[in-house]
């Protein structure tokens, strides 16, 4: 072998060896996505702006599941696709499985909370944010956090919910807090957020996301914050520790919210959807020929008619006959179903995957006002508020309620309006029936069908706490 050949071999060997030894050669980063250190390592205004947007995007986690599950519990409708027998078995007859559907719609909100908490921790470290901007950012994040926890406690009911969830994965999970404790925490967060927003200057240091157009400055965001506070107060008013004080507090919050008796009822802060590429799609929307979601027959038969004999405008806009393959749908021994939720459809009946879903809308605020006024304020104002919705939104004649009507009569009227105003938006029929102790009035289609008080603690959450499934973790 000649020296040249030898040196060539040696050269290759040296190359291989060098490649083998240089650390940087093996330090292969994941180029598919940013790593969490990019958020927590050296945060700045631009990075935090993305985190704020991420938090807003995650706000819609679990939403489709909540709407459709609660709609099924409250018989606003059914899922009759038939690809999963549990949808008409477990969901209608129980027992709910903590490892299956019973434990669903829990995790997504805590995934969002993890991001919000990381965001909150990072805000102070950003060198290029002013104090006001930091304050505005915190107020924004805490308000979103309250929205998520409010939906969590609606889902969990008497189970309560974990709150201090910023634990390291090596530590025990955060303890469950009682239902009342969760409401207290939510309201405290909202109040803190309001203070932060008050000190937050005139603009957020980031672009507020789609769906937040009416709450795009700290000042306007406070109106959204107060709307959520009002809703939290109303929801807890029927619980121990709530009562009239909560209703009164709700009225105060409503006055500071974006509620307007003269403004458009559709004014809302919304979960934004879009049919554009890459954007989140409305999770409920589907063609009228699709065989998945149906309006419960009791919603069809229970609608009130306008003077001209036509149904409530809300019904006309939100409920449409099924077409094509979707006609005469059933599963198991359920009756045939022929009506589809169409609130998220285009005029021609096709799915509008870009239809927004309100987080909270003016129409709901007025109904909250009606309820709070009836129980804690002026019954006449309550009747006026109900009538505002009945006539404006429903095209119906005013209510026959008077200030001397019973609470039960008022609740019946209120719940009718809440159902048709908020149909397939948040499972209001189930939530309302539960808080007024009326779950037994939910119309069931088959002997043996039931409805539930609350969803379950997910099996994995029980596992991580060393509790046997299903579990009711002790609350603090």
């Amino acid at each position: 072998m000649t020296t040249t050949k030898l040196s060539r071999v040696a050269g290759v060997a040296a190359l291989v060896f060098a490649a083998g030894c240089s650390d940087s050669h093996y330090n292969i980063l994941n180029t598919n996505a940013p790593t969490v250190e990019q958020l927590t390592g050296a945060p700045n205004k631009a990075i935090l702006g993305r985190a704020a947007l991420g938090a807003a995007a995650l706000l819609a986690n679990d939403l489709g599941g909540e709407i459709s599950f609660f709609a099924i519990f409250g018989r606003e409708g059914y899922n009759l696709l038939g690809n999963d027998p549990r949808l008409t078995q477990e969901m209608l007859r129980g027992p709910l499985e903590a490892g299956g559907f019973g434990g669903a719609n829990f995790t997504g909100k805590y995934i969002a909370l993890r991001t919000i908490n990381e965001y909150l921790k990072a805000i102070d470290a950003a060198p290029d944010l002013t104090a006001a901007e930091k304050s505005a950012s915190k107020g924004y994040a805490k308000t979103l956090k309250a929205v998520l926890l409010l939906r969590t406690i609606v889902r969990n009911g008497v189970l309560g919910a974990p709150i201090a969830v910023e634990v390291s994965l090596n530590d025990p999970p955060a303890p469950f807090v009682s239902q009342a404790g969760v409401y207290t925490y939510i309201l405290a967060q909202l109040d803190e957020a309001r203070s932060d927003l008050n000190a937050g200057g005139t603009a957020f240091p980031f672009n507020t996301p789609s769906g937040h157009e009416i709450a795009n400055t700290p000042a306007n965001f406070i109106k959204f914050n107060r709307a959520i506070a009002a809703k939290a107060q109303v929801l807890r008013s029927t619980l121990a520790g709530g009562g009239n004080a909560a209703y009164t507090a709700a009225l105060t919050a409503l006055n500071e919210s974006f509620m307007s008796r003269t403004g458009a009822l559709s004014n809302a802060v919304s979960y934004a959807y879009s049919s554009a590429s890459g954007e989140p799609n409305n999770p409920i929307s589907e063609n009228l020929s699709a065989q998945r979601f149906y309006i419960h027959n009791s919603v069809v038969s229970g609608v009130q008619l306008k003077g001209n004999g036509q149904p409530d405008n809300r019904y006309a806009a939100k409920v449409k006959p099924a077409i094509g393959d979707a006609v005469n749908r059933t599963q198991g021994s359920l009756p045939l179903h022929n009506f589809k939720p169409a609130m998220y459809n285009n005029a021609d009946g096709t799915a509008d995957l870009g239809a927004d879903i309100p987080v909270i809308k003016n129409e709901e605020l007025i109904l909250l006002a009606a309820e709070a006024n009836w129980f804690a304020g002026s019954k006449q104002q309550a009747i006026d508020d109900i009538n505002l919705i009945r006539t404006t939104s429903g095209g119906l004649a005013p209510t026959s309620l008077t200030t001397s009507s019973t609470n039960a009569q008022f609740i019946t009227e209120l719940l009718y309006n809440r159902l048709y105003s908020l149909l397939w938006e948040q499972g209001t029929r189930w939530v309302d029936a539960r808080r007024f102790n009326l779950l037994s009035t939910i119309p069931l289609d088959r002997a043996g069908d039931v409805t539930f008080q609350n969803m379950l603690v997910p099996a994995t959450e029980c596992d991580a706490r060393g509790l046997s499934v299903p579990c009711t973790p002790p609350t603090q």
Partner: protein
């Protein structure tokens, strides 16, 4: 000190020895021929025992080898023949050898180290071996299917009947839960990707998991016709030379190389068909009223549909999968060369037209293998192959919108004719009480194809620095690259019935998987024979670089009639890059002593990898093995070999295990940051397999009986696991190392030549495999691994103290109610293979039988038929026994759908007849040999399973087989006629 002096003396000796060589004058010559026919055997190695002198025979079988004076022993070895020794007395310089065929392949040379090889007869570990002839005897789409029933310790199972492969090869059980589960494939020294690139089909059919895309594994690119041999390094003691990629065993493939001599040309042509092997029969309705009653049939729409139509029972399986179409394979190769230059070139053109319209598999391959001697000391060999493969695997398995054929059929009553109507339209089964999907419409209009271009090339370089009687030193280098690009083209046009009701009808997908793997190896081997001991010392380094890039564009809401991904409103792009680099040092010492009776081998490989949390840390994988042979134990020439081995292997973390990522959800045209739900482990390290194996080989009756028995016990520690933290933490998974699983098993091969006459020969080989697994410790609650099944319908559950393959599901509690408990176990009790070959003169008849005893399958296909009221036994007590405990009225009991997976399959049958030489030569044109044959694959089955095929996996290949049957692509048998002509 004394030791040092000895080494110095040795080294001095080593340097002097090459000089001594020239002084030798004695040359022994002779010929090597085949027993019986007397045909010369080229490329046989003739060596002088006790020295490193050796020579190779030329095309005429002649050799000349240098030898020391005095009596010497010569040994001849040749591929395919049993080795032979002969004593050559002093003064005699001629010796001729006649060699027997090596029916049990004991003299084949197999890998024993990164740079060393050993004969199987001598190996200290059990190494499976299949020759190329056995791979190509019966037409197969991919090499795995040609290995069925031929290897002990290897469980080869199909995942469904789709054309072009899609099998899984599992060596010595399941050794990981979440890590890589494929064996390492090494083809001519190049690490060969067996990736499964997901094409995106589940996006269209709403599959429960992307794993339901049912891709082919890329081993399908490897042309069985090019294969010379397949070695399976089963145990850790053997496979540890491949370190942290070898936890699941190593399959070493060698392709055919040229031999010196006249140019040889072989051309073979196969023609045949595939045909549906098993099917579901249609339900026969007694009356229109029964068909239209919602409780016994399909509701009012069925009644309306049947007005004016006769209540016929169409056989949908026959309509969809009943067609036989011509398939073919043409293989041509040319080989030859001189002592210094040898070549092998082959071309293949194959097309399997499968039973489902529009589906099939084709492969075109062009291979050139070249061996070149440069001077007297340098050997260079180059292997290269370019191929194209086209997979159209159809629409099998689970889906959630009835796009999949079998799934839809479970919900389409038999009175609906799926065929194209006279006006060119198809009936939408939904109008007759079925679902919105007509498989024949989908087959005609939709497309699901994957086209792959692949180049694999490698070079091996040996520099025989010096060779003397006592020692030799050589430097070996090898390297190569495996590059492929797979393009999936999927189109589900708007007019398909199942697209109708979608919010965004019409989907088009362009998917690309681009793979680049390179490995380089540089080593040196020194042999020294002194005092009756041969020391083989080897060492070196190895570098591996892998990179897989997948990109996908998915477009929904297409403009009608358009398939370009531009022609829709919802364009989603995805890209994933998974790179990995490994660098390793290795060293090995082999001692052969007591006249080769005792062999001791030990080595260690130490490697670092970018996949580990600590990229600078070297992980060591040691191994040691020994064998001792007792000769002439039962008659002269018999041999009992006792062997034992211990080794450690690794299984690298999966790319990304160490990172906690940010998701980037889009809202309003911008991307936000959100913490991803999987928490990575920055300290992640490879899983570690430790294995001890022991066994014996007994060879007697003049080599006509060979028994190989091996028992092993392997443990995997530091498993890559995913813990589910409390969901309230916002994480749904946390990656970490921990726990331990173990596998133990027995594998045996019993080979016998019951009849060995001059014109009649019967060779038989029986393999047996038994493996049991156990989860020894699990630091997380029992959990379902990926692709474990469907909740409530029988799923795998990993739990401490239980086998990995345990299936749990709802079953009746003896004390009342329903419990989640053991309902099955997918692991077979054992597997056996029977290979028999009968040769009478020029006529050969061979068959291979594959037997699986035990194991369970979850027959969800039947569940769907029962749910769809389309079972052929609807209304009978058998149906009611199944459905009522399961159905709405019942308690969801799954036990009746868990069925035994036992089967006996006649995998291969072949009849081959070689025309007598005088006849074939009469063709002229230089024809030397003409062979005619008929081969069949999967001709006969016997199984207790009521479904189609107990070898089924809805989720495709997986670490742990879940054997879930959800309306797979049905199995088919194939028959091919072939003509092979040699020039």
């Amino acid at each position: 000190m004394g030791m040092h002096r000895k080494i110095l003396r040795l080294a001095a000796g080593l340097m002097v020895l090459p000089g001594l060589l020239a002084a030798q004058a004695r040359q022994i010559s002779g010929t090597v021929t085949r027993v019986g026919t007397g045909a010369p055997i080229p490329e046989a190695t003739v060596s002088v025992v006790g020295t490193t002198n050796s020579a190779r025979t030329n095309a005429q079988g002649q050799f000349v080898v240098s030898a020391p004076a005095g009596e010497v022993r010569l040994q001849v070895r040749a591929i395919g023949f049993t080795r032979k020794d002969a004593i050559v007395p002093a003064g005699n310089n001629t010796v001729n050898f006649t060699l027997d065929q090596d029916v049990f392949k004991l003299d084949e040379v197999v890998v024993s180290g990164a740079a060393t090889t050993v004969e199987r007869r001598q190996a200290a570990t059990s190494i499976g071996y299949v020759s190329g002839d056995d791979v190509t005897k019966v037409a197969s789409a991919s090499i795995e299917s040609a290995l069925h029933g031929k290897l002990a310790g290897v469980n080869i199972q199909g995942n469904g009947g789709a054309p072009g492969g899609g099998l899984q090869l599992q060596i010595r059980g399941t050794n990981t839960i979440l890590g890589a589960f494929d064996p390492l494939f090494v083809v001519d020294g190049v690490i060969y990707s067996n990736a499964r690139i997901l094409g995106g089909r589940s996006t269209i059919d709403n599959g429960a998991s992307v794993l339901e895309d049912d891709p082919a594994n890329r081993l399908a690119d490897l042309n069985p016709a090019d294969i010379a041999s397949i070695e399976v390094l089963k145990g850790a003691a053997a496979a540890a030379i491949y370190g942290s990629k070898a936890a699941n065993g190593v399959v070493v493939v060698k392709t055919i190389r040229g031999a010196a001599g006249t140019t040889r040309v072989n051309v073979s042509q196969r023609l045949g068909t595939f045909d549906l092997l098993r099917r579901y029969e249609p339900r026969i309705y007694a009356s229109v009223a029964e068909a239209a009653d919602p409780s016994t049939g399909h509701g009012a729409s069925a009644g309306t549909f049947l007005q004016g139509r006769s209540l016929e029972a169409f056989n949908h399986y026959e309509q969809v999968w009943g067609k036989k179409r011509l398939s073919y394979e043409t293989v041509a190769d040319v080989s030859g060369g001189t002592e210094t230059t040898k070549y092998f070139m082959s071309a293949t053109w194959k097309r399997d037209n499968a039973i489902e319209p529009g589906t099939g598999f084709s492969r075109q391959a062009l291979r050139v293998n070249l061996d070149q001697k440069v001077g007297s000391k340098i050997d260079i060999s180059v292997s290269s192959v370019f191929n194209r493969a086209l997979h159209a695997r159809g629409w099998g398995n689970n889906c959630n919108n009835y796009a999949c054929f079998g799934y839809a059929l479970a919900y389409i009553p038999s009175f609906i004719d799926l065929r194209k109507q006279s006006d060119g339209s198809y009936i939408n089964p939904a109008i007759g009480g079925g679902v919105s999907s007509n498989p024949l419409q989908t087959a005609e209009l939709a497309r699901n194809e994957a086209e792959t271009f692949r180049f694999t090339g490698g070079v091996n370089f040996t520099y025989n620095a010096y060779t003397s009687e006592k020692s030799s030193f050589r430097v070996v280098g090898s390297g190569g690259a495996d590059l492929f690009s797979q393009n999936d083209d999927l189109w589900s046009p708007n007019e398909l019935f199942y697209e109708f009701s979608q919010a965004r009808p019409g989907t088009s997908i362009q998917n690309n998987g681009k793979n680049r793997q390179m490995n380089w190896n540089l080593g040196a081997v020194h042999t020294l024979r002194t005092g009756g001991i041969q020391f083989t010392t080897s060492g070196g380094m190895q570098y591996e670089d892998r990179r897989l890039l997948t990109t996908r564009i998915t477009t929904d809401n297409l403009v009608p009639g358009q398939q370009n991904v531009n022609q829709g409103t919802n364009v989603v792009a995805a890209q994933t890059l998974t790179p990995e680099r490994t660098f390793a040092f290795y060293g090995q010492e082999d001692l052969s002593l007591l006249d080769d009776r005792l062999l001791i081998s030990g080595g260690v490989r130490s490697e670092r990898s970018s996949a580990n949390g600590d990229i600078g840390k070297y992980f060591a994988y040691p191994r040691v093995s020994a064998k001792y042979s007792i000769r002439d134990i039962i008659g002269s020439g018999s041999e009992l070999k006792l062997r034992a081995g211990y080794g450690q292997l690794g299984n690298q973390p999966v790319f990304g295990n160490k990172f906690t990522l940010l998701n980037t959800p889009q809202l309003g045209g911008r991307n936000g940051f959100a913490v991803a739900t999987t928490a990575g482990d920055p300290t992640i390290k490879p899983e570690r397999v430790k294995e001890i194996e022991g066994g014996f080989d007994l060879n007697f009756w003049n080599g006509r009986i060979n028994i190989d028995v091996t028992a092993f016990r392997r443990q995997t520690t530091d498993l890559l696991l995913s813990r589910t933290p409390a969901p309230s933490t916002g994480f749904t998974a946390q990656i970490f190392n921990g726990g331990q699983i173990s596998n133990k098993g027995i594998e045996t091969v019993f080979g016998i030549t019951p009849i060995q006459k001059s014109n009649f020969n019967w060779v038989s080989s029986t393999s047996f495999t038994l493996v049991r697994s156990n989860v020894d410790s699990l630091p997380v609650p029992a959990f379902r691994p990926p692709a474990s099944g469907f909740g409530g319908l029988g799923v795998l559950l990993i739990a401490q103290g239980k086998p990995l393959t345990r299936v749990i599901g709802p079953k009746l509690n003896p004390s009342g109610g329903v419990v989640q408990d053991d309902v099955g176990d997918t692991n077979p009790d054992f597997r056996m293979g029977f290979q028999n070959s009968f040769t009478y003169k020029n006529l050969n008849f061979s068959f291979t039988v594959d037997w699986q005893k035990g194991g369970t399958v979850t027959n969800l296909t039947q569940l769907l038929y029962d749910d769809g009221k389309t079972s052929s036994d609807f209304g009978t007590p058998a149906y009611e026994d199944r459905w009522f405990p399961r159905g709405f009225a019942g308690q969801g009991i799954i036990t009746v759908y868990i069925e035994p997976a036992d089967f006996v399959k006649l995998r291969e049958v072949s009849v081959n007849w070689g025309l007598p030489r005088s006849v074939s030569e009469a063709f002229g044109l230089g024809v030397r040999d003409v062979r005619l044959g008929v081969t069949g694959r999967d001709l006969l089955w016997s199984t207790k399973y009521s479904g189609l095929d107990p070898e089924v996996a809805n989720f495709g290949a997986a670490a742990i087989r879940s054997n879930v049957d959800v309306t797979p692509y049905p199995p088919s048998r194939s028959v091919f006629f072939n003509v092979a002509v040699s020039y």
